[in-house]
Amino acid sequence: MARTMRRKAGIAALAVTTTALAGCAGFGGGGGGDEGDDTLSFTTWASESEQLALEDLVAQFEDESGATVELNVVPYEQMFSNIDAQLASGDAPDVFRVDYGNLGVYSSQEQLLDLSDAFSGDEVDAFTPALWEAVSFDGAPYGVPHQTDVSALIVNLDMLAAAGIDASTLPTTQDDAWTWEEFADVAAQLRTALPAEQYPFVVNWQQGGTPRWMSWLFQAGGSFMAEDGTPTIDSPEGAAALDFTRSFFENQWVPPTSTPAGTVYADSLFSEQTTAMAFVGSFLVPDMDYFNEFEWTALPMPRDERGATDLGGNALVATAETDQPELATEFLRFMVTEEAMSTFCAATNELPTLTALEGDAIEFAIRPDVMPVFVDQATTIEPEDVRQLTSPAMAEISVAMQRELEAAFVNGQSTEETLANLDAAIAEASGS
């Protein structure tokens, strides 16, 4: 009897193992393209307004095409480690969203579907040239530029007024944007007026935003990498940008927690009124509108030798191994039609990538009064900036940049040493 019981227990244990392992089959987590002939998996991160807009557009595409799109919204923090693991295990979604900086990593490793045959010359010409270049690698497009966003300077009008800064003197267009000197004067005036625990402004270069430091380099008239990958950052312009941005910390114009490696983000510090001004992307306008319990507006970024801002925004790409290349291409084409892009950008306060929608063609849903500043700011992006920022080496350069800027801003590393280290890191990353 005991022996029978033991045998039964052994069989039961084996059965449990089998069941457990069968359950593990779902650990891949990705959509994959094996659900059926007319099903696409689409993985993205999304803010609340982005998710609602994407759900509407997906439903519209399903109605028009008869296909099914499985929309998988994941937290941004997990997005690319998930995609990397899914690509490695051959279980990637058919379509996913990717920022222009990361796109180069995937396209250079032949992980994305080549869309060369999917767009005619006229269709390509409909996009802002710099952004079409952002999705291209070796002359071939590996995605569609879905939207862009740029940073501008948002200001707390109450805090500025308390510091004696007249709102009527604030710049509104690129033509009357503050110079670096004027911006420094405003920061110094705010520093004098504000208590020690509040700061004049904060820059949005934390964590993944570190490449936004390049805006200051470009404003100084500098560049960081020539077309052949040779580093160019160790220059008088590079020194000017580094010295100016280092002075933000030395003069206590920015909170000490807001370094490139810091984990406290610019928009949080602005919303909680720790800072009077903040550099933020237009995609944060809905959040600012919701959270800020004070009057605020947007101003152009300061300029030095020229105006410049960061290249935000994202592309939509299909994976090279998708089972549904035609359907995936059709979906990507649908998402960048004028109508779909207009709907998405209006709902999310993001900027279009089609030239036909530039200017005032889109009626933004939230704070339409501040959006012209962002639209105007986008015109300061030059193709040469885009070429550098979308290099496949950018992800690696960004890591070195975070380390070196942190050393310069916090640990007192000299300008010469910082630029020399950045120069070496860029050369290593680009293989030049």
Binding site: L21, Q109, G262, A407
Partner: protein, 313 residues
């Protein structure tokens, strides 16, 4: 070996004879035993041993995780030796371990002694101390972020309210390290207390009674009875705490991300950063192998040197 077995069974050498029926029974018993072991064994092979072998293989490659990997031999390990950030992360891990483990042991023992005595609301207090154990580490760390938020977190608000200045929890290295240590101790205190409580309840009350009759003070009872008789629990907790400290990740990842300026970067956060954020998966795997070796070496040393290991349990 055969002799040893024979002696152990109380049978003289040369007289061991196993009947066919017994052999069958033993084989059947062995199979049933294997059946019971199988679930764990299969899962351990699938989710522990195979990944370790793959990680070793990965540590000799240069790869982003996708695309074609390149075999680079020991290059990742050579890079590690020359990488100042690796040495800094290792030093931070050792510091974190050296500070948190003794505090966890001492505080766990103190709380266990306190809550083993007659105390009002003893059950409630025990539950409160153990509670952090059952909350996800990430959720606890999120709570800690709100507490230690530099510009307007609760801790700094309280410090200001009582007339003390703000502490730069997020922008200066030492306070940042202190904040993650405090949270790690808070999270692990309950586990230490529970193990010590179990150990305390296994000590015969007669020993304390005899000591009291001999005139021993409370402190002498603690030093001469409680602490020595809890040796096996202390040994178990020491190993578990050291391993946990060497593998600390969630608290630091959520609270400081290894910053400011790498001041709280430990081996696992540095490995994660390389493997998943920078996409240097080969180097990340090499760091993981080093963490495994350090942990194994410490465990081995402890087992070899601790004389009271046979008393465990």
């Amino acid at each position: 070996m055969t002799q040893a077995v024979a002696h152990a069974e109380g049978v003289r050498p040369g007289r061991v004879r196993v009947r066919p029926g017994q052999r069958r029974a033993r084989r059947r018993e062995g199979l049933v035993g294997l059946g019971f072991l199988a679930p764990n064994l299969v899962l351990m092979i699938g989710f522990l041993f195979v990944p370790i072998v793959l990680a070793v293989q990965l540590s000799f490659q240069e790869t982003r995780g996708f695309g074609d990997p390149e075999w680079v031999g020991a290059a990742n390990y050579e890079t590690m030796v020359q990488d100042p950030e690796f040495w800094r992360s290792l030093a931070n891990t050792v510091l974190f371990t050296a500070v948190t483990v003794p505090i966890e042991l001492a505080a766990g023992l103190s709380l266990a002694v306190l809550l083993n005595s007659v105390l009002p609301a003893r059950g409630l207090l025990r539950t409160l101390i153990v509670l952090p154990m059952v909350i996800s580490g990430v959720a606890s760390a999120m709570i800690a972020v709100i507490l230690f938020y530099e510009s307007n977190g609760l801790v700094n608000k309280v410090l200001e309210a009582v007339g003390l200045g703000r502490i730069a929890w997020q922008s200066e290295g030492a306070p940042a390290m202190l904040s993650v240590m405090l949270v790690a101790v808070w999270l692990r205190l309950g586990f230490n207390m529970v193990i010590y409580l179990a150990g305390l309840q296994a000590i015969s009350p007669e020993l304390y009674e005899a000591a009291r009759i001999d005139g021993a003070t409370r402190w002498q009872q603690l030093r001469s009875i409680t602490v020595p008789l809890l040796g096996s629990s202390t040994f178990f907790l020491l190993i578990m705490n050291v391993i946990a400290s060497f593998q600390v990740f969630d608290v630091i990842f959520v609270m400081t991300g290894g910053g400011p300026s790498g001041a709280t970067s430990v081996l696992v956060t540095y490995a994660y950063r390389n493997g998943f954020l920078i996409r240097e998966q080969g180097y990340g795997a090499a760091l993981g192998i080093v963490i495994l070796l350090i942990t194994l070496a410490f465990t081995f040393l402890q087992w070899r040197t601790n004389r009271s290991r046979d008393q465990v349990g």
